[in-house]
């Protein structure tokens, strides 16, 4: 079931409440969105407006009370944990603000973790692909270094390489530059957008940074659980 035949990920009328009884909050109110190949989307808005909640639902880490979600042409909301996890592993890549690398593992091993779970490549193939991806983010020389010995910018680049490990359709990024200085922020954003456009993937990133948002193809402004405004930017590549 695809709402848009070309969208890599599309959601319609998502509804989500959080909390219970008196503290119950309606965090998503009929949110709809479509991510086309090669497109970069930013979600902006004040804290608590539902940006991250939307991201986690799109990433199959959370479930809405109502709505539809299609990833790669297949409905994805009624899946059991096993199938949802497999879909996430195969088709989605996450990048978080705080990098979230496994600190006991090297950069290369971190990149290989999603590949191990997918189980399609041999050990040698996984190592080659991990090195190739780290090369792509400029970290091939540090592939064998424990992730805790990398700088913040380097860790975020490793996280990007890891998000690309299984060649996903869609990258979901929760403030990927929020914890970086301006130089690294620029570098990471550039890397993400270039990869997405070159490989016809889609990127949805949550950001508080207007400068970053301005450079995305689409900017969705959220307020009180709704997308109140969507702007298409004209980007000069």
């Amino acid at each position: 079931m695809s709402l848009s035949p070309t969208a890599l990920l599309e959601c319609r009328d998502l509804e989500r409440w959080l909390g219970a009884e008196e503290s119950r909050v309606h965090v998503l109110r009929g949110v709809s969105l479509a991510l086309e190949p090669g497109s970069v989307h930013a979600i902006v808005g004040p804290s608590g407006c539902g940006k991250s909640s939307l991201l986690y639902i799109l990433g199959l880490l959370d479930r809405p009370e109502a709505g539809q979600l299609v990833i790669g042409g297949q409905s994805a909301l009624a899946l059991e944990d096993r199938d949802a996890s497999h879909r996430r592993n195969e088709r989605l890549g996450f990048v978080f603000q705080f990098h979230f690398l496994l600190e006991d593992f090297t950069a290369e091993e971190n990149v290989m973790i999603p590949m191990r779970q997918l189980g399609r490549l041999s050990q040698r193939e996984m190592e080659e692909r991990a090195r190739h991806l780290l090369d792509g983010v400029g970290l091939r020389a540090k592939a064998g270094r424990p992730s805790r010995h990398l700088s913040g910018g380097e860790q975020q680049r490793v996280a990007i390489a890891r998000a690309l490990a299984n060649d996903p359709l869609v990258l979901l990024a929760d403030e990927p530059t929020g914890n970086l200085d301006s130089v690294n922020s620029e570098r990471v954003f550039k890397l993400l957008t270039e990869l997405v456009r070159a490989q016809d993937k889609a990127l949805l990133l949550v950001t508080h940074n207007p400068a970053i948002a301005e450079r995305c193809d689409w900017v969705h402004e959220m307020k009180d659980g709704r997308i109140v405004k969507t702007t298409r930017n004209t980007i000069e590549l």
């Binding site: 880490l61 096993r82 978080f96 191990r116």
Partner: protein, 444 residues
């Protein structure tokens, strides 16, 4: 390698201090369990071997006859006759021992049968008198059915074979009476009064190394002179301080029994089958048959209880180790909340997260069991070399140990069960952690 096992190995190896703490508990528990079981089972096995080697797996004694009291009940139209079973009537001794032995040898698993004439006699030396449990044996049958040949610590079986009035004495009673090989002692049936050895009898105590002539009975008395041809030691004091062996015909003469066999000793290929076979003997041969398990029930239960008690005590160490692992894994789960969330975001299922933590427990159990088994074997060997003088119910000069793979399997099983339970609950908790809560908490 499965991805969850790979991650579990890395998580485990990364926390070296926790790993050493967890491992040390399991290693010590497994090692102590094995070594204590080896000791307690060693004494139990020694006792069992001695019982089997001395009295056989089954002892067949008196013939019996089932008795029934006919009851006739009549009513107006009919008369019904029923049989009411009454206690068996026993006849002392084996009835037609050769025939009974032949029948027994036909049973599969029966390796040897030996006839014995058993009774109590008084043994007299210059030094003192003692009551002796005398067993008249057929030497060759006895050697086949028991470990008598291996139990001889002084003298020779051949010497005994050649002397119709030769005597084999238990080591403790020989000690008590201060007799040695070649000495002459006097035996008398306990029913009659003890006379004085006649002037024609051999000296009452001939120095060891002498070659005394076959003594003859003292005229006008019930005393029969016997030459000590061997001293045996079973290791069970109750036997070594009371028992003596003579040839069966000599025993019959001393004890003045009207029959030549009061019991039969049966050696089996598989002693564990003794109770079942004893029941068959009773049913088909109409002689009382008692398995070694029945005869030694009290001692066996006591030894078993000691062994069980030791097992329970030492298992507590493993359980404590399991509790330690529970705490360590619970702390690990709390410390790995972010890692759990990120693994979930990368497509690892709840079941995978649970498996990662259960595997960590299993890794500890595996390494702990292997090292613990090695420690247990080393401790068992060291303990078996410790010289001790045990002169209680059994007689030993070192700690008795048994080498059995069952002890190692049981220790590993307890370790795995304990660690599996200890790791299951933290693992389940890890799997149930909602990743969104962690990601949301860190991301906004």
């Amino acid at each position: 390698m499965k991805p969850v096992l790979y991650i579990a190995l890395r998580f485990t190896a990364a926390r070296k201090r926790a790993l050493i703490l967890s491992l040390s508990g399991v290693v010590l528990g497994v090692g102590f369990f094995i070594s204590t079981q080896a000791q307690t089972a060693g004494f139990e096995q020694f006792f069992t071997d001695t019982v089997l080697g001395t009295s056989g797996a089954i002892v067949v004694t008196d013939r019996f006859q089932e008795r029934y009291a006919p009851v006739v009940k009549a009513d107006a139209d009919s008369m019904v006759a029923v049989s009411g079973q009454q206690p068996r009537k026993y006849y002392t001794g084996i009835d037609n021992p050769n025939m009974v032995m032949r029948a027994m040898r036909d049973y599969s698993g029966v390796l040897a049968v030996a006839p014995l004439l058993e009774g109590s006699v008084t043994i007299r030396t210059d030094f003192k008198d003692e009551i002796l449990k005398l067993e008249g044996i057929d030497l060759d049958s006895q050697l086949r059915a028991t470990s008598l040949g291996h139990q001889l610590i002084d003298g020779s079986i051949d010497g005994f074979r050649q002397k119709p009035f030769g005597l084999l004495l238990g080591s403790l009673i020989a000690d008590k009476l201060q007799v040695h090989i070649g000495d002459i002692v006097y035996l008398a049936g306990t029913g009659g009064p003890l006379g004085t050895p006649g002037a024609g009898a051999a000296p009452s105590a001939t120095p060891t190394g002498g070659a005394p002539a076959i003594p003859t009975s003292a005229p006008g008395s019930d005393l029969h002179p016997f030459t000590v041809e061997g001293i045996f030691q079973t290791g069970i004091n109750a036997i070594d301080e009371t028992r003596g062996y003579v040839h069966r015909q000599s025993a019959q003469m001393v004890m003045q029994k009207p029959y030549l066999a009061s019991m039969l000793i049966v050696r089996l290929r598989d002693p564990e089958r003794a109770p079942a076979l004893a029941m068959q003997f009773e049913k088909h041969l109409h002689h009382r048959a008692r398995s070694w398990q029945e005869r030694e029930r009290g001692n066996l239960e006591m030894l078993h209880a000691i062994r069980l008690s030791a097992a329970i005590t030492v298992s507590l160490i493993i359980l404590l180790a399991g509790f330690g692992i529970f705490n360590i894994l619970t702390m690990t789960v709390l410390n790995k909340v972010r890692e759990i969330a990120i693994l979930r975001s990368m497509g690892y299922r709840r079941a995978d997260i649970q498996a990662i933590f259960v595997y960590q427990g299993l890794i500890i159990a595996t390494i702990g069991s292997v090292v613990g088994c090695a420690l247990g074997a080393a401790l068992t060997f060291a303990i078996s070399q410790v010289p001790v003088r045990i002169r209680g119910p059994v007689h030993a000069d070192t700690f008795l140990v048994t080498w059995s793979w069952h002890h190692y399997a049981a220790a590993a099983l307890i370790a795995f069960a304990s660690v599996l339970i200890a790791s299951y609950f933290p693992a389940r908790r890890a799997a149930s952690l909602p990743p969104v809560d962690t990601l949301r908490g860190s991301g906004q």
